[in-house]
Amino acid sequence: MKDRLFVEKRGSVGKDFINSLYILFKTALIHDLKNVALNSTVDKVIEFIHLLLEEDESFSLKMVQEHLFIDEVKIKVDIENFLASMFLIEEMKKRGIGSITFSTHLSIDELKRFIYAFISTDLKSPQPFEELINKLTSLAVTRITIDRVKEEVENFDHVLEDTREMAKKIYFKTIAVASEIMDSEKLKNSAGIKKAKRLVQSMVDVMLQEESTLLGLTTLRAYDEYTYNHSVNVSILSIAMGQRLGYHRRELSELGIAALFHDIGKTGLPLELLNKPTEFTPEEWEIMRKHPVNGVKTLLKLKGLQEQAIRMIMASFEHHLNYDLSGYPKLATPRRVSLFGRITSITDCYDALTSARVYNRNPFIPDKALSFMMKKSNTAFDPILLKIFINVVGIYPVGTLILLNTRELGVVTKANPTPTNIHRPRIKLITDPEGNEIDGNVIDLSENKGRSIVHSLDHRKYGVDVSKYFQ
């Protein structure tokens, strides 16, 4: 418990520290050392530094694989600290800095000298890191020290094996519960919903620790239980987006449940319709388009007017409305689509496009799906939320089979969190340059400049099973 409390507190102060440091850098770019405008921002940074030094005589701001850490505590990126995090990562990378260590008795003057040395580093010089070191020495900055970027990967890999196992268990249990819930007979009691809530809470716990595990499991799309897989995938993707927006645990749980039940209106639709392999007739489309409203009615029967139910109702009703209300049901008067509705709309569409279904055995590969969705930005989808979604999953999402410029094949295992390197995810090499299958290394393309992605491949076309790399 102490660890959890410590991590949470550290993470929270760390976020504030990063934000204030960012503001300080930005202010320093405009005003000189002696300017009064700098004082309040410097004071703020010092305040957070003191808080972080309560536990020890020094702490380090570290950059590892596009993530920021305060010592061992990862700082989660969300909407509140997005700009600050991206800025600091970028600036540290430009200077080849892997960590900045702050020690006790740091004075305001010394902090100011550090800031100015930092921002005045000549980035065009061949050795910016050395240049900065020299400046800091000449300015007698001793209470702040810098270290180079380290090559190590494993030290900060927070995906523990038991977390992966737990994620798998939770994922498949949730599918089982989803199938129970979607069985219209069993809908007569809400015991399934209770189980679902517990599982969604477990998913949130896993996602808060490390989201890529559960995101990786959403690649398991080859099965016929489309609706159940789909509901769970939409839930996971929505929670991931919610995390990036900065929702707290409870809100993430509500979002996850709402997303899990977004298609509950399909229960009660004829199975022949749901499983029809060919195009719908206009009459059949009419029936299908009723499912958002059917979902509202079903949820009202199940849960009445409880607060949780209303959020689920909003997701069910809104997930096909489209951002510009051009979707369905066609409304007689405009309505502002809620954030839950807009999030579910994006995640639902993405998972539907990329999933094999009875009537669509050749779904989009993930990056093509995103490209397709981006063409509908600001019409079908909220443009800002779509951007955030792509930041979460990357333009080559987890599970994408890719061809590298070295003629090697790889599978994307983790998206790159920084927007500037969104096209350079972490991948696992699965063939050598001659096409022979290998159990290759996991490499971070943002740090491996020799390799880059040429394009993605349709793994189904070639019968390549990408899911085995996530189980």
Partner: protein
């Protein structure tokens, strides 16, 4: 002896362990007591706070002395270090039973435990989860997100007891190799032949084309975008969910033509309205009802049938069962928002009249009863029959309220019914009838009003007199004279006697002058002198009230009477009249 014990570490450990168990038992007993107390006393009770403070103190004392309090949960007991520290004979009150049933096997309290956490913990374990629907203790504890309370849950099975896993893929290692080689040959070999390193041709090219800028600039959020999202998130945090739900339901109503579905939606709108009304949120109900009233008109809806569905919903709000609950809720809430309450109630349909009339007596506060009466006066204006049916109610206050409402409505059709109860035992009702008859103002009402001059209660009679004066009902004169001349008149109180003569003066015309003159000029002898003199005083009051030339004549005549008494009283009256003229 004790020093010998302390020197033996094993014995000391045992002693410490026993003390720990005793302390843990004490903590849990206090917890159990606190739970009972919190159920009984309101939030503001100092006694409640005392229990909570005591409990927090005991917890923290334990945690300071012994470290984490790790409790193992069995079906009806809790254990600390292998010893039973909690049990309870009643399953309904047994904390362990509650936790065990939801899968909790361990509860751990750690240092730094705060009072709020303890209260939240108690809230989670005592909440009635059957009513909550799909929250159990585990989900409630999770949502509380405690810093210093943790729990271990036994894992549940999947839908059929077994947890399904991803089916084994049929592909063998050979097939996988082959598949990858095929992919390689198709994509890597045919690509850009002759080159060692391939050029990018991926989706980022397409995306850059769509946006017209480099990839590095496309996905970074701008400060404006971040601000917009944050603004929306803040807005949604304060979102009124019931309003959102109703908005959705009304959207569906605008597009849902199928009548069964339409009715289903309306049922839910009805539930929402009832929920808001019962929680005292009348202001939010008003616009909803306004919309429904609009939709209840056929020309504003898909069909008559759809409009009728709306009417049925509004009718449901006027049904006895709901209104009874509503009355209870008003008594509990003691609402100050009487304007909103009035507006809401006056939007109900006519079917609400009878139940509302019946439940007035159940309302605790007078101002609320009066409000209901005012609403009923509005609702029953064209339809007083439901009220008339209640006029014979056993509860006198219900009857009085009905009579009051009839007065506000002023419909002459109620007079025969009022006549039926004119001799009601309760004088407050008869007084109210007098008032109501005055409001109705029909001939029949005024005639009935006259009959109250002979009521057994003087306050009722006085009120009848006053109101007859106000109505200027001349027909009452003969009855006044009759009563004044009667033998029983003398036994009335002075104030009432004055009132009779005063009313006579207001209503009287020339016909009463002979009576007044006779009464004035009557000489007083030894027997009955005081009575005659008294009557003379009243007569002069009446004459002054009438204030016509003939009455002045009579007073002048009296002022020159040989009877000193008559002379004086008439002279004084004339002087007063003179003064008033000036």
């Amino acid at each position: 002896m004790s020093s010998a014990k302390l020197e033996d570490p094993k014995e000391q450990d045992e002693l410490d362990a026993k003390a720990g168990v005793k302390s843990a038992t004490d903590v849990l007993q206090t917890l159990s007591k606190a739970i009972r107390t919190l159920k009984i006393y309101p939030d503001t009770s100092p006694l409640r706070q005392k229990f909570v403070t005591e409990l927090t103190g005991k917890f923290n004392k334990f945690l300071d002395e012994y470290g984490d309090l790790l409790l193992r949960v069995k079906q009806t007991e809790m254990f600390y270090q292998g010893e039973v520290v909690y049990s309870h004979p009643s399953k309904e009150e047994n904390i362990a039973f509650r936790l065990f049933g939801d899968g909790i096997r361990e509860i751990i309290f750690t240092k730094g435990l705060e009072e709020k956490e303890i209260l939240d913990f108690i809230d989670a374990i005592t909440r009635d989860c059957s009513r909550e629907g799909d929250d159990d203790v585990v989900t409630l504890l999770w949502e509380k997100d405690f810093k210093n309370i943790r729990h271990i849950v036994v894992e549940e099975g999947g839908a059929g007891g077994e947890v399904p896993v991803a089916p084994e893929k049929a592909s063998t290692a050979g097939k996988s190799r082959e598949a990858l080689l095929n992919a390689y040959k198709s994509e890597a070999v045919s690509e850009q032949q002759g080159t060692t390193i391939l050029e990018p041709a991926g989706v980022e090219i397409e995306i850059e084309h769509i946006y017209g800028k480099p990839l590095s600039e496309i996905f970074a959020l701008t400060p404006e975008e971040i601000e917009r999202v944050q603004y929306e998130m803040e807005k949604e945090e304060g979102m009124d969910l019931i309003s959102e739900l109703l908005d959705i339901l009304f959207h569906i109503l605008q597009i849902e033509k199928e009548i069964e579905s339409y009715s289903e939606i309306m049922t839910n709108i009805e539930k929402a309205i009832k929920s808001l009304a019962l929680s005292g949120d009348y202001r939010r109900v008003i616009p909803i009802l306004t919309t429904l009233k609009t939709l209840s008109r056929e020309e504003n809806n898909f069909s008559r049938a759809h409009a009728q569905v709306i009417q049925t919903t509004i009718d449901a709000l006027g049904e006895e069962e709901f209104l009874q609950q509503f009355a209870l809720s008003i008594n509990v809430s003691k609402t100050e928002d009487t304007d909103a309450l009035f507006s809401f109630l006056s939007m109900l349909n006519k079917n609400a009249i009878a139940p509302m009339a019946a439940m007035i007596g159940a309302l605790d506060q007078m101002k609320t009863r009066r409000l209901f009466c005012d609403v009923l006066a509005l609702l029953a204006k064209e339809n007083i029959e439901p009220l008339l049916r209640k006029i014979g109610d056993n509860n006198w206050f219900v009857v009085r309220n009905i009579v009051y409402i009839l007065g506000k409505i002023g419909d002459p059709k109620s007079v025969p019914y009022l006549k039926k109860i004119k001799d009601h035992d309760e004088p407050r009702i008869r007084k109210e009838i007098v008032h109501t008859l005055t409001e109705i103002k029909s001939e029949e009402a005024k005639d009935l009003l006259i009959s109250f001059l002979k009521d057994s209660n003087s306050a009722v009679r006085m009120m009848a007199l006053k109101n007859l004066s106000t109505l200027n009902y001349k027909k009452a004169v003969a009855h006044l004279l009759n009563i004044i001349s009667g033998a029983a008149f003398d036994s009335k109180e002075v104030i009432e006697k004055k009132a009779f003569f005063d009313t006579l003066g207001v209503l009287g015309t020339h016909e009463v002058l002979p009576f007044l003159k006779d009464t004035l000029m009557k000489r007083s002898w030894l027997f009955g002198k005081s009575k005659i003199e008294e009557q003379r005083v009243y007569t002069v009051l009446a004459l002054k009230r009438m204030s016509i030339p003939e009455t002045i004549e009579i007073l002048r005549e009296g002022s020159s009477s040989s009877d000193k008494g008559i002379q004086k009283i008439c002279e004084d009256a004339l002087q007063e009249i003179e003064k008033e003229k000036r």
